[in-house]
Symmetry: D3
Subunit: 132 residues, 6 copies
């Protein structure tokens, strides 16, 4: 299995609901450094997993929808806790939708799986992975 | 599959037995930077893989049993080489036992697997992973 | 010149005022990974720059005053843009005050300078340094 | 499953053919920081996944065949694009051949899988993994 | 003293002349991960060292002149060894010229010094720093 | 001012004397990842700060005297606490002596200063720097 990973980041405010979150129930924020790993069993005719420039642009565009915002105000997340693991799934789903719409290009047709990892600090991160 | 990772470290002395270890048969030591990755197929009602504060505390407590000691003096490791990969398993088993005892909280009931990785330098690390 | 560095982090929400900040004028947030470097010309009798356990505790305590909050609501920062470089100075001043109050212990009397660096992402950070 | 990882690097020149590569069709170069992860289900009698000194030496030797060269001039890659993911497979195959020739030592007989990851920058990397 | 650092990278081919360079006299290449640290004694009225978006854009533009090229073909470097430390100076001089031309904006007038560091691998880097 | 940095590591056992060290008075150990930064005002005729291959070899040789040992048994450190900052000075002095003996080569004659930094974990490090 081959894989290619690209990295970018976004910065948001949010708060959590539920006693389990303790002081994180207060409005606070985070920088998420995002790794997107794309996998496929065989390389294409150009020797690629994916066009890395396109992957970088798609990631930047998806994160641009979230960057420099208060997630508590985003109707897409109403009633949900925007934990790091939840946001990893959000980024996964949005990149998968872009791929389905052809934005990753012809090189992306052979992709079989993706993993999205959000680093919230030097000591904690969360990820979501699934077949494509 | 979702995952959450927490990081901490411990510092120990030890020596190895067996010609394969060369000069590492002498008493020496290591800093182990430890990554614990906890996995589950679906998030719980709070949108969590695990209560990250509890996971951090359990990791700190498990590493506290080993930290700032000479592993050659620990009866738990008598007759064993405390290699990095062996110690990854030790940390895995001890966290698994804490989870079984309820120390990771109600959020941890849905965990399906764990990976423990011990970084011994900027150029070498070892890990153990298994279902829970 | 000797130095010792300890690292911790905090997570906050904030917004900026001024056209120069563009979309960062919206409420958003950041994780700041903080490095505190303490310097002195000669080691003390124990061979230390500073008691690293005390330095770690003081840093944790100072960051605890800021962690998991909206800086826009903190009267201490009224009318100021809480940029990364500004916050580096805030952390510097608060650690310096703790040292003046004796919280860094007797080992800290010989310190001559400090540098506080806040990493806001994998591609950007800011620092403040000055004599003590 | 246990794993051990060793890291080294190599520096090469190359160019790509195909419109998908844009300006990377020009002769340029890269530093590849290489991680080799070796996996096995159980430790051997010494408590090892693999003799880490041998693994480090084999990796250094394999990378030495590629280091400080122009890959466009290497007959082994004639007619191929030496993308990061392609080179991950090259390093994988060459280490696997060294293992088959006994260079990883008796400790390597129980290895079941390998992953080779080439980091080309702080924001991009590629990998190849397969059973052994 | 305050400072702000931004990071980007570029990938080049080159070769060296002189016996001291050994096998690096062959055509090879490198990824350089570049850190640019800008310093000033006091913050401006907005609480900034520099407009970080402008600094990022200027760095990207300067590196774009070098990226994905063979430095041996660049007339600007004729007769010179493009070592990492030499290239750190090149990037320094080009950013300094952009600042002199006003590209860093009004926020950059108070800058007093700059440091440019080029990371060529996980074990080696070089830098140039000077007053502005 | 120009600088070049090389990195390597060593692994030791030791213990400390003095109440200030708390549980670190027990025999334990550490991995030290070592950065050596060499500085000079101008590049030499080859465009170098120092022959990086020689610098790497000298560092490896100096660390080889310390690696995989119990520092408590080394007569060179009798009656001293081998703290991270103390060991940074030891490595500094030994590299300086190698340079004085000509081991860094003719390129090293123009060096004006050195900084040695020992990373003991992902959250703590210590350094010593001085003119040469």
């Amino acid at each position: 299995m081959y894989s290619v990973n690209v990295r970018d980041h976004f910065m948001i405010a949010h708060s959590f609901r539920g006693e389990a979150f303790g002081p994180a129930q207060r409005l606070h924020g985070a920088t998420y450094v995002v790794d997107v790993e794309l996998r496929r069993p065989e390389l294409d005719a150009d020797g690629m997993v994916v066009d890395i420039a396109r992957a970088t642009n798609v990631l930047r565009s998806v994160l641009g929808e979230l960057n420099l915002r208060n997630l508590d105000d985003d109707p897409a997340f109403a009633g949900r806790n925007t934990t790091t693991e939840f946001m990893a799934r959000v980024v996964f789903d949005r990149i998968a939708a872009r791929r389905a719409a052809g934005e990753l290009g012809v090189h992306a047709s052979g992709l079989s799986a993706m993993r999205v990892c959000l680093h919230e600090s030097h000591v904690a991160w969360a990820a979501y992975e699934a077949p494509l």
